[in-house]
């Protein structure tokens, strides 16, 4: 099994999740677990730092769609930065960029997500 790890921190109102490893079903579930737990504590702005996730699959990305859906219910937002070109292309093909945001840097992301 591939390793997938998360580091979670808060920057004001924003929950920043730095991932590392293959974003498959297991990785997607780990991200959603953190998001839903934080949403219970009223957090609604989430950023994924995908610098160390160069490979994804559609099952893992589908779980991000589920998170977007749940965030829509609370007027929350999901954003990403440090995306590998193929990951950004995959998000574009699957339409995630219509309902969540890709940023060029952490600074831009922390300002833009709110």
């Amino acid at each position: 099994m591939s390793d997938f790890n998360l580091e979670v921190r808060k920057e004001g109102e924003v929950v920043v999740i730095k991932t590392s490893g293959y974003l498959n079903n297991v990785g997607g579930e780990k991200i959603s677990e953190v998001c839903y737990k934080e949403m219970e504590s009223k957090s609604k702005f989430f950023l994924l730092d995908l610098e160390n996730t160069k490979v994804v699959n559609s099952i893992g990305v589908s779980i991000l769609i589920e998170i977007i859906e749940k965030l829509q219910d609370v007027d929350g937002k999901l954003g990403y930065y440090n995306l590998a070109p193929i990951v950004e292309k995959t998000f574009n093909i699957m339409g995630l960029t219509k309902y969540s945001s890709v940023f060029n840097s952490e600074t831009e992301a922390l300002e833009g997500i709110l």
């Binding site: 099994m1 591939s2 293959y22 498959n24 490979v55 994804v56 699959n57 559609s58 099952i59 990305v61 589908s62 779980i63 769609i65 589920e66 977007i68 859906e69 829509q72 590998a84 070109p85 193929i86 292309k89 995959t90 093909i93 699957m94 339409g95 995630l96 219509k98 309902y99």
Partner: protein, 138 residues
């Protein structure tokens, strides 16, 4: 003139979690050998991951899938074959995120991703299995 057969790299994978990553390792070596650029190699890897996942899902757990990388002068042809029950491609809907939001079924993106990332894709499916043939031009 004698026609030389293109070199073929063959790979057999068991139906085990994350085994698609073994296929991408081979694809990386083949892409490098062919002089494909980083973007092309990444697109091949992503399409291959999706083709393998589909093949695994169609297969029983004790079966294997086969992958053939055919190295041609101007393109790479990859065939992914499973021995599953096959599928009717006419019944596979084009996924749209607008429809996925609010639906219980968020998956079903594999074929669309393969089509978008590769230059050509063909499917041959019977009750004895499915072969996906996809190509990427140099």
């Amino acid at each position: 003139m004698v026609k030389i057969k293109p070199p073929v790299v063959e790979l057999t994978l068991p139906v085990l979690p994350d085994m698609e990553l073994a296929a991408t390792k081979t694809a990386e070596v083949v892409s490098k050998h062919m002089g494909l650029n980083e973007d092309q190699a990444a697109e091949i890897n992503m399409a291959l991951i999706e083709a393998c996942i589909n093949a695994f899902e169609h297969s029983e757990s004790d079966k294997q899938i086969e992958i053939h990388f055919k190295i041609k002068d101007d393109l790479l042809e990859i065939q992914v074959t499973d021995k599953g029950i096959g599928f009717d491609k006419s019944k596979v809907a084009i996924p749209k995120i607008e429809e996925k939001l609010g639906s219980d079924y968020k998956r079903g993106w594999g074929l669309q991703l393969i089509k978008e990332l590769m230059d050509t894709v063909e499917f041959e499916s019977t009750e004895k299995g499915t072969t996906v043939t996809m190509t990427k031009k140099k």
